[in-house]
């Protein structure tokens, strides 16, 4: 816990730069660049992202890829970033709340809430806004189960969310007898996943999936505002850094942590709507099929510089990490088409994650670490 001398993200960046000014005297330029890259996760992510984009564009220009790595292709792949960023932000909130905070159940909440949304919108004939609100509230309730157990009763987060993962995913399968809901209204919802061309911009500008504007950007904006501009955000960083000290400064630690899990559940509820729209069907296993949604979300959060020990993490890091992974994956699919490509994506994800984590450990030891 020697790394957490600063209470949060914004201060971390601030003190990072003051440390830089102090240490910057008598330091050579390459050394300074290296230190910034190693200690500022955002800088490293930008560099990696630029490397991926430049390399892929070069490969594309030399016809090594099966299709051009163009801006319209990149824009189209952003549809994959929508659930990833949102769940990454959910993990950001709970991991930052500290004390081993983590949420393995987000994928299961997506499955279960997707089914509830499917019933409301596809079977009971609710209007879209009403069903959307229901999804968010229901997701929040699932998160409240986690939050109550973890924050008020002191259950370890990893185990609690493992248990609710089992519970929610089991209920999602049972509730409609393992059958998906794909009635007409649900299938019509597919249009939210389609691409739109922006007004006021020339036609040459790439068409970006609508989900980016309706779900991703609002969520990221709200989470950023809450974390960086409200007292709740300050409290969350405080309890994540040292919850005993936070308690003594008069912060209601349990309620602050509880709220983080509720928010993570509510975001998962939104992701459920996105997923239903994307597949034009409410599938009972949408959030837990394969490796599920929780593992990639946690991976993205950690890659984005969220400290697993709590108290450190930024929205920009999560967004950049998602863009890095999504656009790297998109490039891999073009370079190595088909099954081999999707396998190589697993490899890339694993290597990037371990590399980032080891680098983090190294830079913390070398520079005293502001992450």
């Amino acid at each position: 816990m020697s790394t957490q001398t600063t209470p949060g993200t914004e201060p971390a960046a601030d003190s990072g730069s003051t440390v830089a000014e102090v240490a910057g005297r008598g330091e050579s330029l390459p050394g300074k660049v290296l230190r910034i890259l190693l200690t500022q996760r955002i800088a490293l992510l930008v560099l990696l992202l630029a490397t991926v984009l430049i390399t892929m564009t070069q490969l594309s220009a030399n016809n090594y890829l099966s299709a051009p790595y163009s801006t319209s292709y990149l824009a189209a792949t952003l549809i994959n970033a929508v659930p990833l960023v949102m769940l990454g932000l959910a993990e950001l909130l709970v991991i930052t709340s500290g004390r081993g905070g983590i949420d393995l159940s987000v994928g299961a909440i997506v499955s279960l809430t997707g089914m509830v949304f499917g019933f409301a919108y596809g079977e009971w004939g609710w209007s879209l806004p009403a069903a959307l609100v229901l999804a968010v509230v229901f997701g929040g309730l699932c998160g409240a189960v986690n939050g109550a157990l973890i924050a008020y009763l002191g259950f370890p987060a990893l185990i609690t969310t493992l248990a609710t993962y089992y519970g929610f995913s089991s209920l999602a399968l049972v509730v409609n007898d393992q059958r998906p809901i794909n009635s007409q209204p649900i299938q019509d919802l597919y249009s939210t996943a389609s691409a739109v061309s922006l007004p006021f911009l020339p036609d040459a500008f790439p068409r970006i999936p609508l989900g980016v504007f309706t779900f991703l950007i609002p969520t990221a904006l709200v989470v950023w505002l809450v974390l960086a501009r409200t007292t709740y955000g300050r409290r969350l960083y405080a309890i994540g850094t040292n919850d005993v000290a936070a308690e003594w400064t008069g912060i209601n630690v349990a309620r602050t942590r509880f709220t983080a899990y509720v928010a993570a559940g509510a975001i998962s509820g939104l992701v459920a709507v996105v997923t239903v729209a994307q597949f034009a069907s409410a599938r009972p296993d949408s959030g837990v099929a394969g490796n599920g949604m929780a593992l990639p979300a946690i991976t993205i959060a950690v890659l984005g510089g969220v400290a697993i020990t709590g108290g450190i993490g930024r929205v920009a890091g999560v967004v950049l990490a998602t863009l890095l992974i999504v656009w790297l994956n998109a490039g891999i699919l073009l370079a190595v088409p088909g099954n081999a490509g999707s396998q190589l994506q697993l490899f890339a994800l694993g290597v990037v994650l371990i590399f980032a984590a080891l680098l983090n450990g190294f830079s913390n030891r070398r520079y005293g670490g502001t992450s």
Binding site: F155, T160, S170, V244, L295, I308, L346, A357, R365
Partner: protein
């Protein structure tokens, strides 16, 4: 340990006994062989078995008990390793991927060259050990939280496994491993071999963790790794060992998984296994914070999980409901553990 800011560092079960000497002045340093949680588990399992055999006459027949015992062996076996890992304060979420890599390589080698049984087991255990070593080196020497490293290796190992699979299932696996299966070849006097092997390994691990200095070191590391290091324990070597043992056992478990399967092996083998194993360990009373836990509890936890799965199917309920019960059991187990901690602290 960052995850335990408020709770005092986990301590071995026997601490209170050591503080209050009662056996004629001779201090008991060890907990009683069967702790509270394990007693509760035994009672719960006994009640479940009783209820199930009353509800469905088919339950207490060898046709139902043998698959139950064989079915729990992979989870219990990996659970032994996972218990050690969690006692040190770590976690390993890559075991499902290790099982996948081992089983696909062994299956393909058996199809290709008719590998005999001992060599197949040796191959699986060796591969598992190597993958465990990768985890162990990265965690012990990289000084990164175990969950991050094993999330990474989960993807890496899965990649290796899929490469070996080569985008198709393995077909026509010979029945070399029937010795571990649930069929007639897998039993002596009606007792399945895989279950006996699992029991022997679990018993060895139980004795090692309880009665040797080396075993107690794992508890010390989980309690407070700084203090353990200052006390002269080679923390890195011990942590490395925990992950290698888990890898070795996952390798052996992959043989059991193959033996229980059909003659074809699909790429989804082992997925989700890590969560089932962690569930069994936690239901068995091992503290996720580290420093407390026992192998006996893990074996009982695995037995409980498998009993619930069997029971739900035999009662004709939807099989997916068993996961709901597993979730509930985890919460009850953790809740019971918390209550015990609080009463202990209060006394």
């Amino acid at each position: 340990m960052s995850s335990s800011i408020l709770t005092p560092a986990g301590r071995p079960d026997g601490e209170p006994a050591a503080v209050a000497p009662q056996d004629g002045g001779r201090q008991r340093l060890l907990p009683s062989p069967v702790t509270g949680q394990e007693m509760v588990l035994i009672v719960v399992i006994a009640l479940l078995w009783l209820a199930l055999s009353l509800a469905t006459p088919a339950f207490f027949t060898s046709g139902s008990i043998v698959p139950l015992l064989v079915g729990m062996t992979p989870i219990a076996l990996i659970g032994v390793g996972m218990t050690i890992v969690i006692i040190t304060g770590g976690i390993d979420v890559s075991v499902g991927s290790i099982v996948m890599v081992c089983s696909v390589i062994v299956a393909q080698t058996m199809v290709g060259s008719g590998l005999p049984l001992p060599l197949a087991v040796l191959l699986a255990v060796a591969i598992g050990g190597v993958l465990g070593l990768v985890n162990g080196v990265l965690i012990a020497y990289g000084r990164v939280h175990a969950i991050i490293i094993t999330f990474g290796t989960l993807n890496l190992f899965r990649f290796i496994g899929l490469q070996v699979f080569g985008s198709s299932t393995v077909e026509g696996i010979p029945r070399t491993l029937n010795f571990f299966g649930r069929g007639e070849a897998g039993r002596t006097l009606g007792i399945p071999h895989s279950f006996v092997i699992m029991l022997v390994i679990a018993a060895l691990a139980w004795w090692y963790l309880r009665h040797t200095a080396g075993g107690r070191h794992f508890y010390a590391i989980g309690g407070d790794s700084q203090a353990a290091r200052l006390a002269g324990i080679s923390v890195r070597t011990r942590v490395l060992m925990a992950y290698v043992v888990t890898g070795l056992l996952a390798g052996l478990a992959s043989c059991f998984v193959l033996a229980q399967g059909t003659s074809s092996l699909a790429a989804n083998v082992g997925s989700g296994l890590e969560l089932a194993v962690i569930a069994a360990v936690v239901i068995g009373g091992t503290s996720i914070i580290g420093g407390r836990g026992s192998v006996l509890g893990t074996v009982l936890g695995a037995l409980l999980v498998q009993t619930v799965a069997t029971g739900v199917t035999q009662l004709g309920w939807r099989s997916q409901l068993s996961d709901l019960f597993v979730g509930l059991f985890i919460l009850i187990a953790v809740g019971a553990d918390l209550i015990r901690q609080r009463t202990r602290r209060a006394s």
